[in-house]
């Protein structure tokens, strides 16, 4: 109190204060609300159309569209960790000291001053009283100790010491979870890969267009199946995959939703699926000369139309367009003309839309093949987080429900027997403790009755 604190002491006090904890809790909660209102991961165009340029500039400045990964949100989390560590380290010695002090005997005056206390008179000597009360105490308390001095007895008993440490374990668990998340973000990745049936991939695309990661092996989709309920809702997605190393199958597995597959630290999850046409063969007809030719084209890849300078790309496929059945969206860039596109209906070659300029387009054949969309993650921090989870739940139960209960007894010899002063306290669940205290008082008083009956 007396001396002025230095600047660094004041900083230390601030970082250790519960006031800061409360502020961080409030700030995390309030800013998280913002993050649920502003769509996370929306594109610049989407944001511009929703918020306009000025608001969007603010959103970009504060990184609000990827808020939970923004620098200032990380700062809040780091501040929380520092606060947690300093605060716990500051309080821990005091707690340990008070646990040590908890086993100290106290004298009659202090016993009588405590809030929960009782005064019982028994018709037997202090030594006899000690003999009958000792088992009562050891039945109810995990620790008890006695001392005799000039015929006067003192005792202390306690249980639930660990209840005082629960909060520290909770703090440790929060730290473990934060550390686990950090490990995951440094040493892990989240990506996805779409694999056509019968094809293999050896790299995965990272989320958020951050490039690709090589797997170090190949994963092949042997078969993709989707089952439906009678209602038409999907029942199960399943990818049968093979892991290939140097072209040889080393492992085979089935991946379902809620049933991932791990290999070499990477885990594959069934995420999406789709189908994609392959082996597309088009029929191109010059409407002026009625000359036509066949052209095999890959999906979503531009090709030159042989013998011309025109380029063509099959951009999209729809299972059912209107009531016309399957259709392809074909775009063509012709010399000296604006690029143009059209939906080409497969089953009706004479459909009026099946042409671009003077080129009639028909689809001769294609095969619709499934592809499976797998989420691929590597997260070495998960185990740290899981340990944190278990520790958090156990220590919450300890911190909330195990109360540190203590009882002090002082016996003094009186002319007609023994005077027993008893007091106690608990650090939580006071009402329940008072019930236990009263029960114990009753038990001790009852001892007296049975002794009297013997007389």
């Amino acid at each position: 109190m007396g001396h002025n604190k230095t600047f660094s002491e004041r900083i230390h006090d601030f970082l250790a204060s519960v006031r800061l904890t409360l502020f961080i809790f409030g700030a995390l909660a309030a800013t998280s609300i913002l993050g649920t209102l502003i769509p996370q991961g929306a594109t610049t165009e989407q944001r511009l159309s929703q918020y306009g340029p000025k608001l969007n500039a603010l959103i970009e400045l504060l990184d609000l569209a990827d808020m939970y990964h923004s620098w200032w949100f990380q700062v809040l989390l780091i501040l929380l960790s520092i606060n947690l560590i300093i605060c716990s380290l500051r309080r821990l010695p005091k707690t340990l000291k008070s646990l040590e002090a908890a086993r100290r005997l106290i004298g009659p005056t202090r016993v009588q001053k405590m809030q929960t206390n009782t005064d019982i008179r028994l018709a037997c000597t202090p030594a006899e009283t000690q003999r009958v009360i000792a088992p009562l105490l050891s039945k109810r308390f995990s620790y008890s100790s006695w001392r005799e001095e000039n015929g006067a007895w003192q005792a202390v008993a306690e249980k639930g010491r660990i209840g005082r440490l629960g909060a520290y374990f909770i703090h440790l668990s929060v730290l473990l979870i934060l550390v686990g998340a950090l490990l995951g973000s440094i040493f892990g990745f989240k990506g996805f890969v779409n694999i056509n049936e019968k094809e293999a991939k050896s790299t995965v695309q990272l989320r958020g267009e951050k490039g690709t990661v090589p797997l170090g092996f190949e994963i092949r989709c042997d078969k993709f199946t989707v089952d439906f309920y009678d209602t038409g809702a999907p029942k199960e997605f399943r990818s049968d995959v093979s892991i290939l190393e140097q072209g040889k199958i080393v492992q085979q597995a089935a991946i379902r939703v809620n049933d991932p597959f791990s290999y070499k630290g990477m885990t594959f999850y069934q995420s999406t699926y789709g189908s994609q046409p392959t082996g597309i063969v088009l029929n191109l007809t010059d409407l002026k000369t009625s000359e036509s030719k066949r052209l095999q084209v890959p999906f979503r890849q531009a090709v030159n139309i042989p013998g011309t300078k025109n380029r063509l790309v099959v951009m999209d496929f729809a299972q059912n367009i209107g009531t016309f059945g399957p259709a392809f969206f074909v775009a063509m860039a012709q010399e000296n003309k604006e690029p143009a596109g059209t939906w080409v209906v497969v089953k009706e070659p004479d459909f009026h839309g099946n042409k671009i300029g003077n080129t009639g387009i028909g689809v001769i054949e294609y095969v619709n093949r499934f592809y499976t969309g797998l989420q691929v993650t590597k997260d070495p921090g998960v185990w740290v987080i899981y340990i944190g989870f278990i520790l958090m739940l156990l220590s919450m139960i300890i911190a909330m429900y195990i109360s540190h209960r203590r009882i002090w007894l002082v016996f003094s010899s009186e002319s007609k027997g023994t005077r027993v002063l008893m007091a106690g306290n608990a650090n939580k669940h006071i009402l329940a403790f008072e019930r236990e205290f009263n029960q114990l008082t009753q038990e001790i008083s009852d001892l007296d009755l049975s002794e009297n009956e013997h007389d």
Partner: protein, 283 residues
């Protein structure tokens, strides 16, 4: 129709209404008997709700799509009502006070009325979508809803606490109605007890959700609006517990925080579904 359970569950709505009214009557008219009747009706409501839920479970197996009745909005409302009544009745046994029954029973009645009679409510048993086919579903939903229920009961006591405080501040403690409410110290303790129970279960709920998400999608946390709102709720209660345990806040502040906390719970449950979009679109 093979939906005996739906019919049974709509009947519960009226049982719960009856219980709420009897609790209210017993409190206002200071009739011990009415309070006992209220308790009896509330137990009956809980039993019929349990039977309804079990029947619905059995029916889903008969339809060949067997799953626990915890998978859509209708079922979550029913289970929510069940949880609130259960948590309240346990508290009633432990603390022997019937004056606190009005709020939880009225809330359970509203949930059941909404589930059974709201026109847009899909009360049919639907097959599970692949993402929900997991044993974690049961652990996740049960713990979350028991937690929510404890928070609901706490906020009900919080409201009573504030009413009682206001009455004693305006020198009107003689109001016989409020005299039947337990004293302010007990109310404070009851708020705290319910909040720590709720906090523990909400933590279990969030953790089971995270473990499940990790096994289904490969990520234990994706800042989906429902996840984020459950975290916001968790933070509000964490703030409440720290301010009480370390800074010694008691009384009206705790009562207000229990109400704010429950408002967050309600938003996590309803608001996110109706106003925001995300992974939890099914419930």
């Amino acid at each position: 129709m093979n939906m005996t359970s739906s019919l049974l569950l709509s009947v519960v709505t009226f049982i719960l209404l009856g219980a709420a009214l009897c609790y209210c009557g017993g409190w206002l008219f200071r009739r011990e008997l009415l309070g006992k009747i209220a308790t009896g009706i509330a137990w009956m409501g809980l039993i019929v709700l349990t039977v309804g839920l079990v029947l619905r479970w059995v029916e889903s197996y008969r339809l060949g799509i067997g799953h626990a009745p915890l998978s859509n909005f209708y079922e979550s409302l029913v289970f929510g009502a069940w949880s609130v009544v259960l948590v309240y009745l346990i508290m009633e046994i432990r603390y022997r006070s019937r004056a606190l029954g009005v709020f939880p029973l009225a809330l359970a009645f509203l949930a059941m009325a909404y589930a059974s009679f709201s026109p847009g409510m899909e009360s049919q048993i639907q097959p599970l979508i692949p993402a929900l086919k997991s044993n974690w579903l049961i652990a996740h939903v049960i713990t979350c809803f028991l937690g929510y229920a404890a928070f609901a009961v706490a906020s009900g006591i919080g409201i009573l606490y504030l009413i009682k405080c206001r009455a004693s501040a305006s020198n009107n403690p003689g109001s016989s109605v409020l005299r039947r409410v337990p004293n302010i110290k007990t109310l404070d303790e009851l708020i705290y007890q319910n909040v720590i129970f709720g906090f523990l279960l909400l933590s279990v709920g969030i953790i089971t959700g995270a473990v499940w998400a990790n096994s289904a999608w490969g990520t234990y946390w994706s800042w989906d609006p429902k996840e984020t709102w459950s975290l916001i709720t968790w933070l509000v209660y964490a703030l409440m517990l720290h301010s009480r345990l370390v800074r010694g806040w008691h009384g009206p502040r705790m009562a207000w925080l229990s109400i704010i906390g429950f408002a967050c719970v309600l938003f996590t449950y309803f608001g996110v579904n109706f106003l925001l979009s995300g992974l939890h679109s099914y419930a």
